[in-house]
């Protein structure tokens, strides 16, 4: 597996935070993409929704999810959301942990992808969520934009985009 897994780009958020994290000009030379993220947002809650726009957001994604909040489980539908990240009232210094996997991201069919994320907190409420998502567009994925409900992604948040080859 070693030489098939390549870092394309990474982002570490500096002081003051950012409104979004962007990966652009993603080359079509890999088989799959894997996005890993460790985020904290400024939403005044234990959690902060994390969203993903593909290729500028012109085509909306659709998704099904299953989620636990520390006391109960639920399931539903959503759009561009890929995780429930960590919000500003969660335990200090705590960041979420998530991953999105895009198989055949440069193919000519619609793009299906999976996302999973957790936001931790030293309290009963914390969220673990799994998403099955679809982007109804035949274009190759060339850019990804991560943003949150709160509007600001906090300092020390990180995101890493990997390309995965089949040879």
């Amino acid at each position: 597996m070693a030489n098939t897994y390549t870092l394309i780009s990474s982002v570490t958020v500096g002081a003051g935070g950012v409104s979004s994290i962007s990966f652009s000009s993603i080359p079509g030379i890999y088989t799959d993409l894997c996005l890993k993220f460790s985020l904290r947002g400024n939403r005044a809650s234990v959690y902060d929704q994390i969203y993903l726009d593909i290729n500028g957001g012109g085509t909306a994604a659709t998704a099904r999810y299953v989620m636990g909040n520390g006391s109960s489980a639920s399931s539903g539908t959503t759009g561009a959301q890929i995780a429930l990240g960590t919000g500003s009232t969660a335990t200090a210094n705590t960041f979420g942990n998530g991953e999105v996997y895009f198989p055949n991201y440069a193919g000519s069919s619609y793009k299906s992808y999976s996302a999973e994320g957790v936001n931790e907190n030293n309290g009963t409420e914390a969220h673990a969520s799994l998403f099955g998502s679809s982007w109804s567009n035949t274009s190759a994925i060339t850019s990804l934009l991560i943003y949150n409900n709160g509007g600001t992604i906090s300092q020390y948040s990180t995101a890493y985009l990997y390309g995965i080859k089949n040879s």
């Binding site: 210094n93 942990n97 673990a128």
Partner: protein, 194 residues
């Protein structure tokens, strides 16, 4: 006829390079490295330890299969030998009929899904720790694990929190009761991010 002697005067159009890499594509070692793999022997083992983990990667991942010597069991996972009440854990769980969620806070260990006993059925899981060496962050672990024993089983999606900004340098995975049985196997990978 075998070549027994080669002289410079017998060669034409010679290009001389000082490096074996000249003329070849740049070598890409990739970002995904096996740090260590532990496979349990015939006597079983109560604890799997990955120690002296270097900070040269961005993320850690443990992939495992596990079977208990005696009964259905749970994991105790700790970082850096910390046995204090510095952990929290949460789970989303399904048993084939019902989905549920739970939380444990201010606790002394982290966990993965329970794992089975039996002659040939193993639990399997993937554990991810992002930014494990980042000293600005507490460490959040993400776990997807489960098993099916042809009549029983479960699937867990879990998170664990270690409330420390220290780099993770040691991981202990302990069987709560009894031991990990023979052929249980744990592999630690490092994933580079720069």
């Amino acid at each position: 006829m075998a070549i027994t002697k080669l002289s410079g005067s017998s060669l034409t159009n010679i290009n001389k390079y000082d490096s074996f890499l000249a003329g070849n594509a740049a070598y890409d070692p990739g970002a995904y490295y096996l740090i260590e793999r532990v496979t349990v022997g015939s006597g079983g083992s109560s604890t799997i330890t990955f120690n002296s983990i270097a900070s040269t990667y961005k993320h850690l991942q443990v992939r495992y299969v596990s079977r208990n010597t005696t009964a259905l069991d749970s994991f105790l996972i700790r970082f850096n030998s910390d046995t204090g009440s510095t952990y929290a854990r949460h789970k989303l769980s399904g048993d084939g009929a019902t989905a549920s969620a739970g939380a444990t806070t201010a606790t002394t260990y982290m966990a993965s899904a329970d794992y089975p006993t039996g002659t040939s059925t193993f639990g399997a899981g993937v554990i991810d720790v992002l930014d494990y060496a980042n000293t600005n962050k507490y460490k959040t672990m993400r776990v997807l694990a489960g098993y099916d024993a042809n009549g029983s089983g479960l699937i867990d999606f879990r998170s664990n929190l270690w409330q420390s900004t220290s780099a993770v340098t040691r991981i202990d995975i302990t069987s709560n009761s009894n031991s990990f049985a023979q052929y249980s196997s744990f592999a630690l990978y490092g994933i580079k991010g720069a």
